[in-house]
């Protein structure tokens, strides 16, 4: 059976929600649209960093041969 990694599912869910917030719209002195996306960009970069540091949610349970 394929091993399941709940940490990975949570991380991917958060990234998906991040994309939804960035993409789904309704004027440093930057107007709202530029500021809003930049703030979300920073949030997403943090999620990507967490992803990299935790082996994309697999943590130490992973025993593969990367």
């Amino acid at each position: 059976a394929k091993k399941s990694y709940p940490g990975r599912k949570l991380l991917f869910l958060l990234i998906f929600i991040g994309f939804l917030i960035m993409e789904y719209i309704y004027i440093f002195g930057l107007p709202f649209i530029y500021s809003f996306t930049l703030i979300m960009w920073a949030v997403m970069v943090v999620l990507m960093l967490i992803g990299y540091l935790t082996n994309w949610g697999k943590g130490k349970d992973f025993t593969g041969k990367e």
Binding site: K2, K3, I15, F19, M22, E23, Y24, I25, Y26, I27, F28, G29, L30, P31, I33, Y34, T37, L38, M40, W41, M44, V45, M48, L49, G51, Y52, N55, W56, G64, K65, E66
Partner: protein, 492 residues
């Protein structure tokens, strides 16, 4: 004096890649695999820069400024699409890398031929890649050669600039293969990243900085700060369409398949989403350039050329030439990869498979190099005879290659996907793009871009036809299942 310095900068910009090509040639092995995928041993630094520089093209450096200048903030969705591109490279790219290494694939068609067991689908993928990558290559030559004309103060007309541009690429790709392309992309990548950011802050400073720039815009042209922009044409649906179509189209281009196969270590795929997401910050530069243009140069007739125009008016000549070289770097780093990967598609998928099945490595390499020459000439003539908005042409090109994501993801994540479903879905998607592009009376619904609507139709047809047709041949399905189990065990 300053003109001489500008020309010297351009000459250096052309000379450095040529030197890199000669050095790369010293390491080149006389095999198809080394010429086209660097023996699957490309290191981390080279992979990051060659992926980023290939993905960021004239579309990103010149086209983005033009969009911010003329059409409002819609291009800002690029911040999100860069992150999506990074995730695609991790989720899909790592799997493609694994299967590619197991089957010694060189082109995308190898992947489809082997894992779907369908030569017809593999041939369709090869045709789609060649047909839709050529216009994307054309906009690189158009953008790059225009910048050479501007940076040389008109001494080198753009038609001659385009010829020089093309000749330099052909020479170093010819002598050094993918290794030369990747090395020059490190040089181009650094130049374009810092050029983009610096140009934005430099021009905004001429108005008093970003905060003052936007204070003035709020008072004078507030409609340029919200969707759907000053022309009222680029609203929320285009924002979403571009977010989906652009990264998918670039990611499925032949040049990115090469950059999935060529990677040495699987660990790099885990890091790429972070690196590519972080690099997206460079778009602040083009956002500031386009918006500064609205204040500094209102009503400029050719939006794609707003950056070089402002640089030569407001910046010291040498600085302007240096930043223009950064723009030409964006164009060249994409063009070199496209010419190289299109040559692989022609040589491996068509020549070696159908024209001369017994060709040895030496013969195949000669054909591959001649293909580099032919595709370069084709794109050069297209750039002369087919003008157009850089981003608009780029969007049609990426919409075409984006269609390949459906059979790719379908194969990797859906057991019931069939070769017939993949073939009919892909054909429906690309025919619909052609229809929506060349018949102005027919438009995609709800303000969607043609690429996104075609992608949805492609997906629906893929699912329906897959469910209605027999599954993959037993031996093909068993081979795929065994490889997938190995991937899940060790890399998933």
């Amino acid at each position: 004096m300053t003109v001489t310095v500008s020309l010297l900068i351009l000459a250096l910009f052309m000379l450095i890649p040529l030197i890199m090509g000669v050095v790369a040639n010293k390491k080149l092995l006389p095999t198809t695999e080394d010429f086209f995928v660097q023996g699957r041993a490309m290191g981390s630094v080279a992979v990051f820069f060659t992926v980023a520089a290939t993905w960021w093209s004239a579309f990103a450096f010149l086209g983005s400024n033009g969009y911010f200048y003329a059409l409002g903030p819609v291009y800002w969705t690029a911040i999100a699409w860069n992150i999506l591109f990074g995730m695609l490279y991790f989720v899909i790219g790592k799997r493609v890398w694994f299967f590619g290494g197991k089957g010694n694939y060189i082109t995308a068609s190898d992947f489809f031929r082997d894992l779907y067991g369908s030569p017809a689908l593999a041939n369709l993928v090869a045709v789609v890649m060649l047909v839709f990558t050529l216009p994307y290559l054309q906009i690189q030559l158009t953008g790059g050669s225009y910048l050479i004309e501007v940076a040389s103060h008109g001494i080198i007309p753009w038609k001659v600039g385009g010829l020089i541009f093309y000749a330099v690429i052909v020479i170093y790709v010819w002598v050094g293969g993918l290794r030369a392309v990747a090395w020059t992309d490190i040089f181009y990548g650094v130049l374009l990243f810092f050029g983009m950011i610096f140009a934005g802050f430099y021009l905004a400073a001429k108005i008093g900085g970003p905060a003052e720039l936007f204070r003035q815009l709020r008072q004078t042209v507030p409609e340029s700060l919200t969707l759907p922009g000053p022309r009222g044409t680029y609203g929320p649906m285009m924002w979403v369409s571009m977010f989906i179509v652009t990264p998918l189209g670039s990611f499925m281009g032949p040049q990115l398949w090469t950059r999935m196969y060529a990677v040495k270590s699987s660990k790099l795929f885990n890091l790429m989403p972070l690196l590519l997401s972080f690099a997206a910050i460079a778009y602040i530069g083009s956002m500031l350039v386009g918006n500064s243009g609205i204040i500094l140069e209102p009503g400029y007739p050719v939006p794609d050329q707003i950056l070089p125009t402002m640089l030569f008016k407001y910046a010291p000549l040498v600085l302007a030439a240096l930043i223009c070289a950064g723009g030409a770097a964006a164009a060249m780093s994409t063009a070199n990869s496209q010419i190289h990967s299109m040559s692989a598609v022609w040589t491996v998928d068509i020549y070696q498979r159908y024209i001369n099945k017994t060709a040895d490595h030496k013969r195949v390499l000669i054909v591959g190099r001649l293909a580099i020459l032919v595709f370069g000439v084709g794109a050069y003539f297209m750039s002369i005879f087919i003008p157009g908005f850089l981003v608009s042409i780029g969007l049609v090109a990426t919409a075409g290659t984006a269609q390949i994501i459906v059979p790719t993801a379908g194969l990797l994540f859906w057991k019931r996907s069939t070769p017939a479903g993949a073939f009919v879905g892909l054909l429906a998607g690309v025919l619909l793009i052609a229809l929506l592009t060349f018949v102005p009376a027919i438009k995609a619904p709800w303000g969607m871009h043609a690429g996104l609507f075609s992608l949805i139709v492609n997906l629906v047809v893929f699912v329906i036809v897959s469910l209605a047709t027999p599954p993959r041949k037993k031996e093909v399905a068993e081979k795929f299942a065994a490889l997938k189990a190995e991937y899940d065990e060790n890399y998933a």
